[in-house]
Symmetry: none
Subunit: 226 residues, 2 copies
DNA sequence: TTATATATTAAGAAATTGTGAACAGATCCG
DNA sequence: CGGATCTGTTCACAATTTCTTAATATATAA
């Protein structure tokens, strides 16, 4: 498998788990580093600046929640993905964990497949909007940071879903997004909505923009074009 | 919905559930087979080689976990997707299930929509980047990600089937595709269409492209040539 | 030539998307 | 708090496009 160019730091005190995870994620194409306790995790994190840190809740030196707390308090790690490993027993922890700013958690015992899919999902979720770049095409500009769309210099107000949908399409002009892709990106994997929902939003966007910038590819999906 | 060319085997001892799932997945375009107990599941799996096996945990003869265990021990089913159906009560099972190499699980009672989205998600996860390569031959270029065909720099709009057919032929210039091959690749194994259907599509492509790039090999099939 | 395969055409079937309205739930505002 | 407004979703059905078929013409190989 090709490299995904993503660095992952795993911290767990059980060498077996460390090894299993490392093996599987490496096979997935990630660059994997390990730490066996909280302090080591923090130390390595500062050096390698990983894209994702997987933290066992229960660890010597500093536990996962503490590590998360410390890292999150630094600007450098504000955006770093953090995923907790929790035992089924400590239900409370991962609730706290997520409140603390973890991005996901996986309960032990760990299934490599599940972990991999969660990790991939995290990166997918993040890569969705790598930057809040303002998209500008001809007389249309889309500013995700301000949540603002302008046509011919005039403000157009889009609802959240409409905006997200437009931004997704416009982020790759010409490329066709399958209906499924759109659902995953805008609505999320777990949400289920009816067939016509996308259409309705597309229509609203077309209507509000007053531009013919979204092309229907029948039986396939939609694409942005100007 | 068009065929996805994926075979799914469902094993559950409750006929109602079996029927509901079969109905919904069939409607989604999958080819669905059923089994009412563990042994039947294993038997059918060996014969039909499904792409995905949906196993109820609680079943007569052999339960889902056992079936999974047995199948996973054979090289043939190393890569086969397995999804468990679990009652909310037996929490422990699906943990074990996932460890065993299941790829996902869905808890009963089953919502067809949820199940469908999970199944689609599984296949999406597995289907790693299919040939999204842009094909370019002389003054013709075919871009599957944009679903776009250009001749001499001008856009030509093809319908889905037309596009798929052209892309298939053009992906191996010179090679003759048997009519059967074409049917399998573009329409899917189980879809039955009349003899003339392919011809009609071929004709439309020739017409729209305005190029003589598809050659008829009488009695055999078609090939792409430029 | 004759039998068979393919091309062409038009028409209807099937599938997909567009549209307007209705609705519940959020959200806003006084 | 209560009403007004906005959002997201669904639904039914219209509009459109795509796909398939069937009938006929044409081409090709033996």
């Amino acid at each position: 498998m090709e490299s995904k160019g993503k660095k992952i730091l795993i911290a767990d005190d059980e060498p077996d788990i460390l090894e299993i995870i490392q093996y599987n994620l490496t096979k997935e194409g990630y660059e994997v580093l390990t730490a066996k306790d909280g302090d080591e995790a923090i130390g390595k994190a500062k050096i390698v600046r990983p894209d994702l840190i997987i933290l066992d809740i229960m660890m010597p030196k500093k536990n996962g929640v503490e590590v998360c707390e410390i890292l999150r308090s630094q600007p450098t790690f504000k955006e770093t993905l953090i995923l907790f490993l929790t035992a089924l027993s400590d239900e409370g922890s991962h609730v706290r964990g997520l409140e603390m700013g973890a991005d996901d958690y996986v309960t032990k015992p760990i299934s490599p497949k599940v972990l991999i899919s969660r990790v991939n999902a995290l990166f997918r979720r993040v890569n969705k909007e790598p930057e809040d770049k303002v998209l500008t095409v001809e007389n249309l500009s889309i500013d995700p940071s301000k949540f603002e769309v302008m046509v011919d210099g005039k403000d157009v107000t889009l609802a959240k879903k409409e905006f997200e949908l437009l931004y997704l399409l416009a982020s790759r002009p010409g490329r066709v997004f399958l209906r499924n892709e759109i659902l995953n990106q805008v609505w999320g994997n777990e949400v289920i909505v009816g067939d016509r929902t996308i259409d309705v939003h597309i229509r609203k966007i077309r209507q509000k923009l007053g531009l013919d910038c979204i092309t229907t590819v029948k039986g396939v999906g939609y694409k942005f074009n100007l």
